[in-house]
Amino acid sequence: MNPTVLLAIPLLPLAAGVIAGLGGKLIGRAGAHTITCLAVAASCVLSCMVLRQLLAGAPTYDAPVYTWLLSDAVPMQVGFLVDRLSALMMVVVTFVSLCVHVYTIGYMHDDPGYTRFFSYISLFTFAMLMLVMSNNFMQLFFGWEAVGVVSYLLIGFWYTRPSATFAGLKAFIVNRIGDFGFVLGIAGVVYFTHSLGYREAFAAAPHIAQALVPVSSATSVNALTLICVCLFIGAMGKSAQVPLHVWLPDSMEGPTPISALIHAATMVTAGIFMVARMSPLFEYSEGALSFVLVIGATTAFFMGLLGVVSNDIKRVIAYSTLSQLGYMTVALGASAYGAAIFHLMTHAFFKALLFLAAGSVIIGMHHEQDMRKMGGLARYMPITAVTCWIGALALVGTPFFSGFYSKDAIVEAVGASHRWGAGYAYWCVLCGVFVTALYTFRMLFMTFHGPERFPQAHAAHPDPHEEPTYPILLAAEVQHEEHAGPPHESPAVVTVPLIALAIPSVLIGALTVAPLLFGGYFGSSIFVLARGHELGTLGAEPGGWLRLALEGFARLPVYLALAGAITAWLFFLRRPGWADEAARRAHGLYTLLVNKYYFDWFNEKVLAALARGVGVGLWKGGDQALIDGVMVDGSAAGVTWVGSLLRRVQSGYLYSYAFWMMIGLALLLAWFLGHV
């Protein structure tokens, strides 16, 4: 592979992002979107070429670009590892990013921060590419943190909204808690291998698995388990796994293209990618994999439930993302890394599609996100409705749609796993299928079908207390408020990316299931130690996708999804009163769900308050009372005395005294020099 081409793939978006960011005024709006779109398109084409070369049998590329630093004989390098795993990620990242770039031209059309937005999403593409292409932990961490920063900036993109800047801060800090674990994991790897390279770490894995790390004078823990759990804590932050998931629903404060690009399709999957990439490490630690399994299963089921009670269309999809990330994590924990990456890819397409469709709805509804104020939109927005249906069908795992193949594989892999926690995980993922269908169809029905609830909604909309809070209101919003009318279908720059994403949402599963799951596509880039729970060879045969889908009808998940769909139809379309009745009957559960299991309450009212309390206590009690009060003011008499002396010296002359003293001192020394 040509190193220049590999270098160009991340650097083109970087250059475009920098130009759009620094020279936004110079090149103007059209200039900014042209240059960034072209750069990402070029990256996408080059990534596809790289993938094709690898498929044609080109060897894995693994080489440094430059030495970042050399400390204590440990070289820390920037370098690329491009194999089939990273190439697949590169294609997914650049393709979704390209769609979002194009979509943004329409979505952000009237936004005053237009060029800044393009700059950010190009920088994000660069950071994400650095992350997936890395061949070492240092660069991985760079990409990891850089995507976090861009995410922080983008969530808080509308910086005059207090809720948006709060959400950005929250996202960054929660991610930092994950990175806190991540950096310790990296330190552990360096401890055992004297290197930051993947190659060295993977080679040393069996040896690290035998080592112990003392955590107190009496106890030690298995070194590899410690390292893998630490690394996975990083993944929990980035991929929003319980309990570090709290930032993702709030991240919906950012513009919708961001929710699609960063908080659904690419950045949040970084943790999944990382664990898959580290499979040679994780495979040697049963303990860490069980941890992964349980965390993932918990996220998959319990976060999905939250989607059932949310009324904000973007938040429903956000909870769905949490739940689906849980599915990917479960797959990792069950050693089905291929299935996790497969689901990551299909999810990237259909979830980006769902978010962009939601964005289209939001535009059509004049920036209304509450589904209770929608309904019957299918008539006004046919393209959006159809594409959204496609995305939803893929999400719930309808046979033949892309999500079916990946989700079915995960459920099956978990069912076959004998790892500690697999039984619990199996129940979670099975029930999760029902829940997924329930909230997905609820969203479809409330948005696109049933009675139209928006005319009243518009009459009630102008909220006198809302407008003045944001003095610099989005131009887009102002415009839409002025032209409030019936919902309308979005322009072509919005619908074309929807269609472009709908196609892979249907087809990509059937097209790639054979090589990705059964054909050994990943080769050496994913390592599985115990081949005890293979998925069979059914899918590898010609036409396997067809038989897999037909086989799916003989298994439980499809019927669970169907049950979920019917429940949603009954409760939210046919007999809307039933939903309220259910909420009344199961009041405790409903309150728990509406309050998101009280995670936010706990973090804000307990943890954050505690941190501030500790800070104030140490400051007032430690610094001011103890240290200054006892130590310094213990000699306060001395201070007062010196102070009174100084006050007597007329401060106006103090300066010249001191200066001439210094010069005198210098002269004296010079005299010494000559005479002694």
Partner: protein, 501 residues
């Protein structure tokens, strides 16, 4: 290149005296002279870097002249891999200070510029001196201009802050002087090399180590002798804060590396847990304290203390690494990290204080509550502020990451818990820095005064731009910096672990 160090020391001092003689009446000329002098010093620091032999741990650019023959004290200068980068940093950071004061200082401007120029020369002298008495001379002399800067151009409580600053630093230095004189009596001269080679018993080492610890811990500053710093920063004018944070705090770290470790290696090994504990307290305790500050300068001052904790941790974790692994591998990394952290903190804290200065010049308030939504009126400033804040939070790709990363990795070798506590800074550092940014920079415009803010002028943009470039370059490619330090650090590690008993 003979005499380069002398020029670097005395050129700014001479220029300072000249500015003083020109007086406030001819301050127009004085200002330009100050700028030209600081730029020339910086230009002369470039050959110091380019002609430095990165393959050697020996003292380079040596100069030797008799000074006080009666005490066998020499005017001896020279640099190695740890002092050279600090001299370049000093020369680099003085320029923004001169520019930042350009149209802001109305009161006694000649004396203001003179103080900074003279201080620059004296600080370079501290790093360049290879004779302990000469070092002490510069060490004490440099305090006088800073004392004046805070005492004259400072805020309302400047007298309190100045006295506190003076008492703390003076108290520490006295003990250092006593230790130096004791060793001079034994060794017969003041050359730092012969002090380092001087055989000392464990008892002697303990006393000397504690004397040095007092002097350097105050300067760093380490918990619990840190309380002078927030007060000094709050009262100091912007330029004073920049130099204080960027250079003066580094004197403490430099002192540990130059004196404590090589002169009292056995006592350092024995008392290393004390320093490590204080460093980790600085990172965690001070991190929490920074979180609740209402004053921007206080917040950055506390953040400085927490960041400097990495310097002392990186320097002293060496002994624990040897104790736990029985090998020297990783020891150099801790010291590398400590050095990079010093350089990086110099750039970032200096930049952040300049940012606060930009706001203070406009609204005359340092209270976080008085700001909010600055990005609406000062977008260029906001970009810089966010960049430096992220660097302060240790974002990879900026210089702030390099030192912390190296120290955390090295600490893991000593103990998982050291690494864990040090890594807490990832969370706390992000929390207090970005919360500051959220409250000051983002949000809606909170008041008519914020609405009337003017964005950066050309002068301010150049200053912050230069610092931004430096922060990014060190972050993206720290290899050259590490390279010049490498042999010196290796030599220092071998000195630090070689027993004198």
């Amino acid at each position: 290149m003979h005499g380069l160090l002398s020029i670097l020391i005395w050129l700014p001092i001479a220029a300072g005296i000249l500015v003083l003689l020109l007086g406030d009446a001819r301050i127009g000329a004085g200002r330009w002279l100050a700028l030209v002098a600081s730029l020339t010093t910086l230009a002369l620091a470039v050959p110091l870097w380019t002609h430095f032999d990165p393959g050697s741990a020996a003292l380079q650019f040596p100069e030797l002249a008799p000074w006080i023959p009666r005490f066998k004290a020499f005017y001896a200068l020279g640099v190695d891999g740890i002092s050279m980068p600090l001299i370049v940093l000093t020369a680099f950071m003085t320029v923004p200070v001169v520019i930042a004061g350009w149209s802001v200082i109305d009161m006694r401007p000649a004396q203001y510029y003179a103080a900074f120029l003279i201080m620059e020369g004296l600080m370079i002298g501290v790093f360049a001196a290879t004779d302990a008495l000469l070092f002490y001379f510069f060490w004490e002399a440099m305090l006088i201009p800073m004392f004046l800067i805070i005492g004259i151009w400072g805020g309302p409580r400047r007298v309190y802050a100045t006295i506190k600053f003076f008492l703390y630093t003076f108290l520490g230095s006295v003990f250092m002087l006593a230790a130096l004189i004791y060793m001079y009596v034994k060794a017969g001269d003041y050359s730092i090399a012969s002090l380092q080679a001087l055989p000392l018993t464990l008892i002697e080492q303990r006393w000397i180590f504690c004397a040095f610890l007092l002097a350097f811990a105050v300067k760093v500053p380490m918990w619990p002798v840190h309380t002078w710093l927030p007060d000094a920063h709050v009262e100091a004018p912007t330029g004073g804060s920049v130099i204080l944070a960027a250079i003066m705090l580094k004197m403490g770290g430099y002192g540990f590396l130059r004196f404590s470790l090589p002169i009292a290696p056995d006592a350092s090994r024995e008392l290393d847990l004390l320093v490590i504990a204080l460093s980790l307290i600085a990172v965690v305790y001070i991190g929490f304290v920074a979180l609740v500050q209402q004053d921007m300068k206080k917040l950055i001052a506390y953040s400085s203390i927490a960041h400097m904790g990495f310097v002392t941790l990186g320097a002293f974790v060496v002994y624990e690494i040897v104790r736990h692994t029985g090998s020297l591998a990783g020891a150099g990394m801790g010291m590398d990290g400590a050095m990079v952290q010093m350089i990086s903190h110099g750039l970032i804290s200096g930049a952040l204080f300049l940012c606060v200065g930009v706001l203070y010049d406009r609204l005359h308030s340092r209270q976080i509550a008085d700001y909010g939504g600055v990005v609406n009126t000062m977008p260029v400033f906001a970009s810089f502020m966010v960049l430096f804040a992220l660097a302060n939070a240790g974002l990879p790709g900026t210089s702030g990451f390099v030192g912390e990363f190296l120290v955390i990795i090295a600490s893991f070798r000593a103990s998982f818990w050291y690494a864990l506590l040090a890594a807490v800074t990832l969370v706390l550092g992000a929390a207090y820095t970005l919360w500051l940014v959220k409250r000051v920079v983002f949000g809606p415009v909170v008041s008519p005064r914020v609405a009337g803010l003017k964005d950066l002028n050309g002068r301010e943009t150049v200053v912050l731009g230069a610092l931004a470039v430096a922060v990014l370059v060190v972050g993206v490619w720290p290899a050259p910096l590490l390279k010049v330090m490498q042999p010196t650090i290796q030599h220092l590690v071998s000195q630090a672990v070689a027993s004198k008993l």
